[in-house]
């Protein structure tokens, strides 16, 4: 990809800046060829990756180098887009929001600094991937489990910072963060929580602070570069019991949620319960043309045939119980009674115990895999996906309302419907997976129109996304409209106070610094 300069920066000044950065990280870690720019683009872009072009990438190897880069960026006015490992697939991967921004690739900072098997936490640099941590826990024979997202190719810290979710009792990843070290936009260094005291022993254990706690301020944020993070890990249970129900009908999701939520709130269920619709199983069995060879959405009559042919319910509910075997059994009885009111067939039951082999693809056991990305092959060609991910209250009224609304909007755009609900307690995250061929212009145009319609109509109904692709960060930000977008205005005031030159991740989550605020696409969806 040819060079796109950062806004309002001359080519000469840009070259000078790169030379200055070479003085910090060395020539080999300033990456600014056309091929480098291609590698820092959104591989799943719903359209041309040139919409979100990076100008270069820098790869520091230490916190001191990050600080030096940030100071130089202020001097040269070169915006930086920090990424941990750049695998934010479906949300923009490692590409920046603002054209010409330099990617600050933290992938080289990949040390596991501490592992405490007694109190169950680790301290990680942002470049540590889920596979790296998993292998470290195995090698150390540490009795600890991670929580992993569906695609575990990326960074443990990066995923938590971007509000990623997993499917174990530790599935709200941002809540596992305890104590961060952060480079501020002026190059200063701060530690959050108890780490604010030099040498404090409780830095990664006490989840609050003396005074305001800034930890969450640095998640989905452009207020700092996280260089170390405490991450809580689950003590490995001695056994686990998995109950699987196939749920026949689409509207059954209502009673499913009303059954699971009270048990989750009461502590019978600990995990985030993932409830995918049938297409989530089919995408791993082949390509779309093996099941339906016409361009429009798979019609309901064919869906019903496929469910029969493949012995699938419309939904699959899997509840995993963790801990002492007798307690798991007792909890399973409670669950079976609750589900038995609605579904006649008993669940499939699968026991796991310490020392037994586990399915290598089971995210509910905290095992990392990138196998979910095989769905990239579903459409054929250069497959990509985006998720439309609103958060709804975990009750049938809201879940069914959301299901019917997104189902209708997606059908109006003649796109296949692939939904999941992850029930996390009082709320559920509804991910509507939209898959496309990146080389099919007509399909891309339809998907983009669809995404706009989903955002607008879902907001009108009173719900918002928890996370979104680069191209829709402004429109989604605009849906948070209480008191004339008071939260955005607060974010902007904080941003301008901490980052007067606007050099850290301009436009991240729709928060723009004064220096580039005119570039926001605030009102109109992309």
């Amino acid at each position: 990809m040819e060079l796109t300069l950062p806004p309002r920066l001359s080519a000469a000044r840009f070259r000078q800046a790169l030379q200055a950065f070479e003085g910090v990280v060395g020539k080999g870690w300033v990456l600014a060829t056309d091929e480098d720019r291609d590698a820092y683009s959104d591989i799943y872009a719903p359209g041309s990756e040139k919409e979100w072009p990076a100008s270069a990438a820098l790869a520091p190897g230490s916190v001191e180098e990050v600080q030096a880069i940030v100071r130089l960026a202020n001097e040269y006015k070169t915006p930086l887009w920090p990424t941990s490992r750049g695998k934010n697939l479906g949300y923009g991967a490692n590409a920046p929001r603002m054209p010409g921004t330099i990617v600050l690739d933290l992938g080289r900072m990949n040390r596991i600094l501490e592992l405490d098997t007694t109190l169950g936490y680790c301290v990680l640099e942002p470049g540590v991937g889920f596979f790296d941590l998993y292998e470290h826990l195995q090698r150390e024979k540490a009795p600890l489990w991670m929580s992993v997202p569906g695609n575990a190719w990326g960074s443990v810290v990066g995923n938590a910072l971007d509000h990623g979710i997993g499917y174990t009792p530790y599935g709200l990843h941002a809540r596992n963060l305890c104590g961060l070290e952060v480079v501020l936009p002026d190059g200063g260094l701060v530690r959050t929580g108890m780490g604010a005291m030099q040498g404090n022993h409780s830095w990664h254990l006490f989840p609050l602070s003396y005074g305001p706690d800034w930890t969450q301020m640095f998640t989905q944020s452009n207020l700092g570069v996280v260089t170390k993070a405490g991450v809580w890990l689950q003590p490995a249970p001695e056994s686990s019991l998995l109950l699987t129900w196939d749920i026949p009908n689409e509207e059954d999701i209502g009673w499913v949620v009303d059954t699971i939520t009270p048990l989750k709130l009461a502590g019978v269920i600990d995990q985030n319960v993932f409830v995918p619709s049938w297409l989530g199983k089919i995408v791993l069995k082949g390509q779309r043309r093996d099941f339906w060879d016409k361009p429009g959405a798979i019609p309901d009559s064919r869906v019903q045939e496929l469910l029969k042919e493949h012995e699938l319910g419309y939904w699959q509910v899997q509840v995993r119980l963790y801990g002492d075997e007798a307690i798991n059994r007792a909890k399973a009885d409670v669950l079976k009674r609750a589900f038995g009111k609605h579904v006649a067939a008993p669940p499939l039951e699968e026991t796991w115990k310490t020392g037994y082999p586990a399915s290598q693809y089971d995210a509910t056991l905290g095992i990392p895999s990138a196998v979910a990305l095989q769905m990239g092959d579903w459409i054929g060609g250069r497959g990509g996906h985006m998720g439309f991910s609103p958060v709804v209250p975990a009750s049938s009224q809201h879940v069914l309302g959301q299901l019917r609304r997104s189902r209708r909007i997606i059908a109006e755009h003649d796109v296949d419907f692939y939904a999941s609900f992850t029930i996390s307690g009082r709320f559920a995250t509804n991910i509507n997976m939209l898959m496309y061929d990146r080389d099919n212009a007509q399909q891309l145009a339809s998907i983009r129109k669809l995404f706009n319609a989903l955002i607008t109509q879902t907001a009108q109904a009173g719900y918002a996304e928890y996370r979104t692709h680069l191209g829709w960060m402004d429109p989604v930000n605009a849906t948070f409209d209480f008191n004339d977008h008071a939260q955005r205005r607060l974010n902007e005031r904080v941003k301008d106070a901490l980052d007067p030159n606007g050099i850290l991740a301009p436009g991240k989550q729709g928060v723009w610094p004064a220096a580039y605020r005119d570039l926001a696409a605030r009102r109109d969806a992309t």
């Binding site: 082999p357 196998v371 095989q374």
Partner: protein, 153 residues
């Protein structure tokens, strides 16, 4: 009351072939409740190769002279060792091309050139994204290309 969907043989319908061993074990234990503990003989199987990669060779990542096999394992293994998603997709493609399924593992391929390996890593192909020079440096890619490129330069 809705009737549940019957599920004869559902565990046998493994999504991905490598889980079949485990699925068969869990299936065996699932049919009776409470399940009898499975009988294990011999050493426990460890994690599959793609979840137990070689460590990244120590030293300056920009310098050459590292072992290609270890670099491939660490830097490509999460997708391209046995059980990884790249292996799964390639196996599917190779079978369609009437090639043996084990040729889905890149380490088993005899027909890859070093140049082809480099081009695919840097430019990507189908589900394979291009990799950055932070993920795989040029020096590392040279060694990996020699390791995989059994058909020559």
């Amino acid at each position: 009351m809705a009737r549940g969907v019957p599920r004869p043989g559902r565990a046998a319908g493994c999504d991905v072939r490598q889980v079949c061993f485990v699925a068969a074990m869990t299936m065996a234990s699932a049919l009776a409740a409470p399940p009898p503990p499975p009988t294990l003989t011999g050493p426990l199987p460890g994690p599959p190769p793609y979840q137990m990669r070689a460590r990244l060779p120590a030293g300056d990542r920009l310098a050459g002279g590292k072992e290609g096999a270890a670099l491939f394992s660490n830097l490509c293994g999460a997708c391209h060792l046995a059980g990884g998603m790249g292996t799964n997709l390639l196996t599917k493609q190779r079978v369609i091309l009437r090639e043996p399924p084990q040729s889905g593992l890149l380490e088993n391929r005899q027909d890859l050139t070093q140049n082809y390996v480099k081009i695919i890593v840097r430019r990507g192909r189908m589900a394979m994204p291009s990799l950055t020079r932070v993920e795989v440096t040029d020096a590392e890619l040279d060694a990996i290309a020699v390791y995989l490129g059994k058909a020559g330069p």
